[in-house]
């Protein structure tokens, strides 16, 4: 046995509620050497998390490991009893989950939870464990390493929590760490700190790792080797450099292609007929008690003005908490503004949606980030899409049915999907249905709130392409809200950068107007590049980071 991990011909089956067996992993083999970091990449449903979890001998409820060997450190995890596996988990193998916020117990302190592993396995006395934890906090460059352990999970930021969950995994001194999309939920500026911290601890400790992700650029920074999965089978394996430069498999190429800068559609002709569709003047909105001057205590959006012209797109970017989603809700009237004017199509709009006329509501549609919660799970796709048709256009049953078919064609979904429920669709399909419902209203402006954030790169770029096509056909305008710069750049004519509820600056990619404001520069420089040396070579102005970074 030369490698730390040797997986041979792994098979995992799941049982559906109809009693049918589905093979979700079909004969996967992979090796991980000591101290090596291997990335598992693939689209949602490719089985990457299932493979990663199987290294701990764990299969999610309803799944079973039915064949193959999983040798970790000389022990076959598939053949061990549950008790023996439990002994290895936390000591030999550790796991860092995707959402640290959901993985911490909100009612006990961080230190208690970090050293829990040493208590369960009886590794060291609590005093020593605390010292070790503080060392780890320091190694992961967490602020206030001595004091942070006494806090509760809700008192630290998302990026810090993610590093704390890595500390929790590292305290048992594991030989293998499993990272399950640990930075997917983080902002780009935060993601860099977390990636840097992970990379330095792993390198210092010579720990082997499995890094599950669908973001190729992130993987390029941290992994030595990449394994590409699709449909429960290994498609391609190779060193990071080899995969990035000379990918063989079509799926891998597709992943890479999603990173290539796309040809931008030109709007040279649009300049001639610039007609203002939406204008917002000094809009302020927020939460909390209203003070004497009529403004709320906490201002999520502070005196923001913007203009959207017919047939052109405005991108709004900024990190989480900068007020960009609140801005979308203010424009749609879901969260009425406290001050400022909204002029849509030449008419002053009421601040609250319920006071606007039906036509005004129809012409401005909003599409939400999570198609899972934006589509009623109890209704078939057909009912979801046809409701705006019945409500706004008063179409009869036959006309509705015909129009639903047309709309499904428009968003490139097979017509047969209309009888399915949202839970029976993939993430990309759900987002298309979500979009079709907005189209059904026949809008002039669609506000897209992070609509690609929950999708993986390949699916996201397909959705963006679709949006562009529909714009050409239907003459729509979009307000595109995202924290992902590459997405916004691909589709928007103007980009507005928001920070802390305020508009920082406006950039026009067409006219090559580069960011000038320091925050925009920081944001733009934080987007991971495919180049594996990017993270190590990245030099950031420490003053900028301390001013704007949420560490």
């Amino acid at each position: 046995m030369t490698n730390l991990v040797e997986v041979r011909n792994l098979r995992i089956e799941a049982t559906t509620d109809a009693g049918r067996l589905v093979e979700i992993i079909r004969g996967v083999s992979l090796d991980i050497a000591d101290g090596e970091i291997v990335a598992l990449i693939g689209e949602s449903g490719s089985g990457k998390t299932t493979v990663a979890l199987s290294l701990m001998g764990y299969a999610r409820p309803g799944c079973r490991i039915t064949g193959g060997e999983i040798n970790v450190n000389g022990k076959n995890m598939a053949a061990l009893s549950e008790k023996e596996r439990a002994k290895l988990r936390g000591t030999d193998i550790a796991y860092v989950p995707q959402s640290a916020a959901a993985a911490f117990n909100p009612s006990s302190t961080i230190m208690e939870q970090v050293i829990e592993v040493t208590r369960i396995h009886g590794l060291m006395p609590p005093e020593k464990a605390r010292q070790r934890a503080v060392e780890l906090f320091r190694a992961l460059s967490l602020p206030d390493p001595e004091g942070i352990g006494a806090r509760y999970p809700h008192q630290v930021s998302g990026g810090q929590l993610q590093r704390l969950s890595a500390a929790m995994a590292l305290i048992g001194d594991p030989k293998l760490m499993i990272f399950d999309e640990p930075t997917t939920a983080l902002d780009v500026t935060t993601q860099i700190d977390v990636l840097k911290a992970f990379k330095s601890v792993m390198r210092a400790g010579g720990i082997a790792g499995v890094y599950v992700s669908h973001d190729l650029a992130v993987v390029a920074q941290i992994a030595d080797r990449i394994v590409v999965l699709k449909g429960g089978e290994v498609q391609e394996t190779g060193t990071t450099a080899a995969i990035l430069s000379a990918a063989q498999h079509p799926y891998t190429r597709e992943l890479l292609a999603a990173f290539e800068p796309k040809p931008r559609q030109s709007h040279a002709d649009a300049d001639a007929r610039t007609k203002q569709l939406l204008r917002i003047d000094n809009v302020t909105a927020g939460y909390g008690a209203v003070r004497d001057d009529g403004l709320p205590l906490i201002r999520a959006v502070d005196s923001v003005s913007l203009v959207v012209e017919t047939g052109r797109n405005l991108g709004v970017i900024g990190e989480s908490g900068c007020g960009k989603s609140t801005l979308a809700r203010v424009i749609a009237g879901i969260h009425p503004a406290a001050a400022g004017d909204i002029v849509f199509d030449g008419k002053q709009l009421e601040r609250a949606a319920r006071k606007r006329s039906q036509d005004q509501l129809r012409e401005m549609q909003i599409v939400f980030q999570y198609a899972d919660t934006a589509l009623n799970p109890a209704k078939p796709v057909e009912d979801i899409i046809s409701r705006p048709l019945a409500f706004y256009h008063r179409l009869d049953r036959q006309a509705r049915s015909k129009r639903v078919d047309e709309l499904l064609d428009m968003v490139r979904l097979p017509r047969g999907l209309r009888y399915r429920h949202p839970s029976e669709l993939s993430g990309g399909q759900k987002q298309r249905v979500n979009f079709a419902r907005a189209l059904a209203a026949g809008p002039k402006l669609i506000i897209c709130d992070e609509i690609t954030s929950a999708l993986d790169t390949v699916v996201a770029s397909a959705v963006i392409e679709l949006l562009k096509e529909l714009q050409r056909e239907l003459g729509l305008s979009y307000i595109f809200i995202s924290h992902d710069l590459s997405v916004v750049e691909a589709i928007c004519d103007e980009i507005m950068v928001m920070y802390n509820g305020e508009r920082v600056e406006q950039i026009t990619p067409d006219k090559l107007k580069a960011p000038t404001h320091p925050y925009s520069k920081l944001l733009f420089s934080s987007v991971p590049k495919l180049d594996p040396t990017w993270l190590d070579g990245l030099v950031r102005d420490p003053e900028l980071v301390s001013q704007y970074g949420h560490r």
Binding site: T16, D17, R20, G333, I334, A353, T373, A374, A378, Y392
Partner: protein, 281 residues
């Protein structure tokens, strides 16, 4: 997983298990008895047919006789009518009003929600038997009065339950989408919320039905329910309680009837057929 241990079969795109089917059959049988009771009675319920009281089971008097020598089988069959009928009517009124009010409160929020919630919480704090006692003392004991009393007692619970569920659904984005579309409150509660909470609401319906059967039996046991010679199962237990030392079937049979109905309803709720999501099978 315990659920997987019971073997499930499938029918019409739903999977079900044996326990649920048996429970459903018991409930169906009692419902049929309640509907057709007057036509299948061997003896009129008020007629004294036995020379002895608390007579044992024997040919002609299959469930023995009661404390006056009346036929127990007839009285239990007729009792089903009152127990099932009154409880069903009461639970329908209670759940319908409670669930509709709960959904409206969750969707509207604000002062309407506060007023409704506080008022129904106050209702909830009145002990149910005491409330029944006061109402019966005030307006007398008639079937409509009983139904309404039982319904009023159980509205606050149904309201709380539905409101708690609806509040969760109300925060979902599809509710926001529907609101921004300009939908009316009727559509919001009927088409967006109800389909998502219908399963737990039905389970709650069944549970509340059991509570009402037990409360009705309790009220009858205290003599506040139906008045003689009519008798629901609770009243039958009470009037024949003197037969307990003699192990008379007159007291055992109605107790078993209450148990079989309430336990079956509970088992059915726990084993409702489940829709199979995997369409490829």
């Amino acid at each position: 997983m315990a659920r997987a241990a019971v073997s499930r079969r499938s029918f019409l795109g739903h999977s079900y298990n044996l326990v649920g089917v048996v429970a459903a059959l018991v409930i169906l049988a009692w419902t049929l008895v309640a509907i057709f009771a007057p036509y299948i009675l061997p003896h009129p319920i008020g007629e004294i047919v036995d020379d002895d009281y608390f007579g044992p089971m024997r040919q002609g008097l299959w469930f023995g006789s009661d404390y006056l020598g009346r036929d127990m089988l007839s009285r239990v069959l007729m009792g089903a009518r009152y127990t099932v009928g009154i409880s069903l009517a009461a639970v329908c009124i209670a759940c319908f009003s409670g669930v509709v009010l709960g959904m409206i409160a969750a969707v509207t929020g604000g002062w309407l929600d506060s007023c409704l919630s506080r008022f129904l919480d106050a209702m909830n704090s009145i002990p149910s038997k005491l409330f029944g006692l006061v109402v019966v003392a005030a307006v007398g004991s008639s079937i409509p009065a009983l139904i309404l009393t039982l319904a009023v007692i159980y509205i606050p619970g149904a309201y709380r339950f539905a409101r708690a569920l609806a509040v969760n659904i109300n925060t979902m984005d599809f509710m926001t989408v529907a609101r921004v579309r300009g939908e009316s409150i009727g559509y919001l509660i009927g088409s967006e919320i109800l389909p998502n909470i219908i399963r737990p609401v039905l389970a709650d319906f069944g549970l509340r039905f059991v509570f009402i059967v037990l409360l009705l039996s309790g009220l009858s046991f205290l003599g506040l329910g139906l008045q003689p010679p009519l008798a629901d199962w609770g009243a039958l237990v009470r009037e024949n309680i003197g037969g307990l030392p003699f192990a008379a079937p007159a007291v055992i049979v109605p107790s078993l009837a209450i148990a079989s109905l309430t336990i079956s309803v509970n088992l059915l709720i726990d084993n409702l057929p489940q829709k199979i999501r995997d369409r490829n099978a």
